[in-house]
């Protein structure tokens, strides 16, 4: 074990390998507030990557209803229980990471789910926290709530799967930080499944080796965003490069939302993985629940998000989500327009901060018909 610095827990922690940062790091921001759990992302991913024999139960992308949805069953409550008390002092995590809590015989604390745990990917769908009493009314946060959590591999800076693989069959691509399982080298030991707290490394039932989300790297190599991002009808996702807090690029949409406005937060930072998928927390959910899930920045993030209408840059970054299939290297907001640029600096998308208002007469003289009011 060596000491590495993990900015998400604001301290050094133990990890089996020294930190060797990739040239760039794949990342994404998901705005939970906009998700309707239509599962279009799930099906796009399924059709692209896990349509084969032996992959039937595998969903590299899934959307589950919190607090009662899980895929696999109980993944988060199980690892939180194994991890023990998780305490923060201000921005610093004072509990143990999955590596620090590891028993002597393993690299990380974890478990392998039961076979049946994978069998109900949509369990708990739309179940709210409790029942709604007569006379109840909405406040913020909602007294009775649920929300949708979109989950893919986090392509961690310090992956649990990579740490646990005794064969080094899992690697982080030096060019973009995407975490992959070498399909030729893997021998199906499933130490990765055991040690990934998100249970996003899965075992192919026919090839008998492990597979995982590959961040649609063939698309990224062509300057495109992954399928789950571009098919999202709620336009809740954007991909981009994330940098270390000391080297922030405020023109990267991900860096801007994570580091500059701090409106997007890591999922379970206390695991110590340095996750690279960030979430805009849902504003209607009590911060106490969200804090155990996204760390101590929740209340500030919600406050910033609620004031986005007065923050053109943040509004611009949020509106660029789902606005283009292309990979947005940089963005700028000028004169009420958010613009995205590719790696060569060419403009690839342009979104107005306020949609123009068109008022059309009820009668269309050209076609001699009355228009329906379809807003």
């Amino acid at each position: 074990m060596v000491k590495v610095f993990n900015w998400q827990i604001n301290r050094e922690m133990e990890y089996p390998y020294a930190h060797t940062p990739p040239a760039k790091q794949f990342a994404a921001v998901f705005d939970i507030n906009k998700c309707i759990a239509c599962q279009t992302c799930t099906m796009a991913c399924k059709n692209a990557w896990t349509a084969g024999r032996g992959q039937e139960y595998m969903l590299f992308n899934n959307v589950e209803t919190k607090p009662y949805g899980f895929y696999p069953m109980g993944w988060d409550v199980n690892i939180l229980r194994l991890l023990g008390p998780q305490t923060w002092r201000g921005p610093t995590y004072t509990g143990k990471t999955i590596f620090e809590a590891a028993p002597a015989d393993r690299a990380a604390v974890g478990y392998i789910p039961e076979n049946e745990d994978w069998a109900n990917p949509n369990i708990g769908e739309d179940e709210a926290l409790g029942t709604i009493d007569g006379g109840a009314y909405f406040t913020l946060p909602h007294p009775v709530w649920s929300f949708y959590l979109q989950r893919v591999c986090n392509h961690c800076t310090y992956p649990g799967c990579l740490a646990a693989c005794p064969r080094k069959a899992i690697y982080k691509r030096p060019e973009d930080g995407i975490v992959l399982v070498d399909q030729e080298r893997c021998r199906g030991y499933r130490e990765c499944t055991r040690s990934c707290p998100f249970k996003k490394v899965m075992y192919n039932q026919v090839t008998r080796v492990a597979e995982k989300c590959l961040a649609c790297y063939p698309r990224i190599e062509q300057g495109l965003q992954p399928y789950c991002t571009v098919t999202c009808i709620g336009r809740i996702r954007v991909n981009g490069w994330i940098h270390d807090p000391k080297q922030v690029d405020p023109e990267s949409p991900v860096d801007f939302m994570v580091h500059v406005r701090k409106v997007a937060l890591p999922l379970y930072p206390q695991f110590g993985l340095g996750v690279n998928i960030y979430y805009v927390p849902p504003i209607h959910v009590p911060p106490r629940y969200l804090t155990q899930m996204f760390g101590p920045g929740v209340e500030r993030a919600i406050d910033t998000y609620r004031r986005a209408k007065d923050d053109p840059e943040l509004l611009g970054a949020l509106l660029l989500m789902g606005a283009t299939p292309r990979w947005i290297e940089k963005f700028r907001v000028r004169d009420g327009i958010a613009m995205g640029y590719d790696a060569r600096g060419a403009e690839i998308v342009r979104v107005p901060l306020t949609e123009p208002l068109h008022i059309r007469p009820a009668f269309d003289a050209a076609r001699a018909v009355y228009r329906q009011n379809i807003t």
Partner: protein, 345 residues
């Protein structure tokens, strides 16, 4: 009453002494494993050619050096036999395992397995799969590969007979599909990533349950281009018997040549029910094996390894040998006390 007390002490003491000697006899292993010359080397582990040979006990320990470690031994001993026919050599490894774990299809399912490890070259490599410059050659038998060979490639339908899916990319035929026949178009094969990448674990067409590999330390296991080991494993009555057969003189230098008079070999066993896989294994130290041009001694036909639920280790016998006199003493004292005090009471 006093006589009963003395008698019970005597009987129990005699039994304990007999057992102790039995334990000593059991612990008195032959000095080395000998590979005896036979006319042929049958793959069937129950063949007379194998049962005529005295098994050599080899104790196993946990792999406790590299992560992930095995914390407790569940297979404390293997019994090994070896025979050769002057051209090929066979090893048979036998161990107690109450569960037959011959599938690795489900996400939390692990197979039983056994392996032999030989040094490549003159220097004896580190027992931990060797080190750079000191290569090892391993023969790894897998219960799921054996099942694939005995019953056809095992996949989802064997585990979930009512399983149904209506379509797959580029599949031929109609649902329910024949596996693997309907999945062999080049485009369809691309949907088996391990197979498409050439991973030997992902092949549907197994020809041997034994994989031959090389290693130069933990995490370096490499499938050999040349696969020369055949074998067969049979589970019955809580016991695996696995046969490995290979030529004495392999074609290339990274497979251990066994043409000399002696070799070293180490053994490892995995218990799938305990999720033992990869580095989570029990292994032996190197065992010196004499490769003999002569057959087994005529009187050597031995009993099979003792079985009382599991193999009795010498430690267990020692414990029994100590416990029985203690029990006998206690019983004797009770009888004495009752004969002295009970009559008055």
């Amino acid at each position: 009453m006093r006589r009963w007390g003395i008698a019970s002490v005597s009987v129990v003491a005699l039994v304990s002494i007999a057992l102790s000697f039995g334990g000593v006899a059991l612990a008195q292993q032959p000095p080395q494993l000998v590979s005896y010359r036979m006319a042929s080397i049958p793959l069937d582990p129950t063949d007379r050619a194998w049962t005529d040979v005295r098994p050599h006990p080899v104790p196993l320990m946990t792999q406790a050096l590299a992560l992930p470690k095995l914390t407790a031994v569940t297979v404390p001993i293997v019994w090994v036999r070896s025979i050769n026919d002057g051209t090929n050599i066979g090893f048979q490894v036998e161990w107690m395992d109450s569960t037959r774990d011959a599938h690795a299809t489900q996400p939390n399912q692990f197979r039983d397995a056994a392996a032999l490890m030989f040094p490549v070259g003159e220097v004896l490599p580190n027992i931990c799969m060797g080190t750079p410059g000191q290569m090892t050659n391993m023969w790894h038998w897998k219960a799921d590969w054996q099942e694939d060979i005995d019953r056809g490639f095992q996949e989802i339908r064997e585990q979930f007979p009512n399983f149904f899916k209506d379509n797959y990319p580029y599949v031929t035929g109609v649902a329910p599909f024949r596996f693997p026949a309907d999945f062999l178009a080049p485009e369809a094969r691309a949907y088996f990533p391990g197979l498409a990448a050439g991973n030997p674990l992902s092949r549907f067409d197994r020809v041997t349950p034994v994989e031959e590999v090389n290693a130069i330390g933990f995490g370096t296991l490499t499938h050999r281009q040349s696969q020369e080991v055949i074998g067969r494993g049979v589970w019955a009555n809580g016991r695996w018997q696995v046969t490995f057969v290979r030529t004495l003189a392999p074609a290339d230098a990274e497979a251990t040549s066994l043409t000399g008079a002696e070799t070293r070999v180490a053994f490892a066993v995995w218990d799938g029910a305990q999720q033992q896989v990869g580095a989570r294994k029990q292994l032996s130290n190197y065992v010196t094996t004499r490769i003999s041009p002569a057959g087994p001694p005529a009187a050597a036909a031995p009993p099979a390894p003792p079985v009382i639920g599991t193999v009795i280790s010498w430690q267990a016998i020692l414990i029994i040998a100590l416990l029985i006199p203690a029990l006998a003493g206690t019983m004797g004292w009770i009888f004495w006390w009752r004969s002295e005090h009970g009559a008055r009471g």
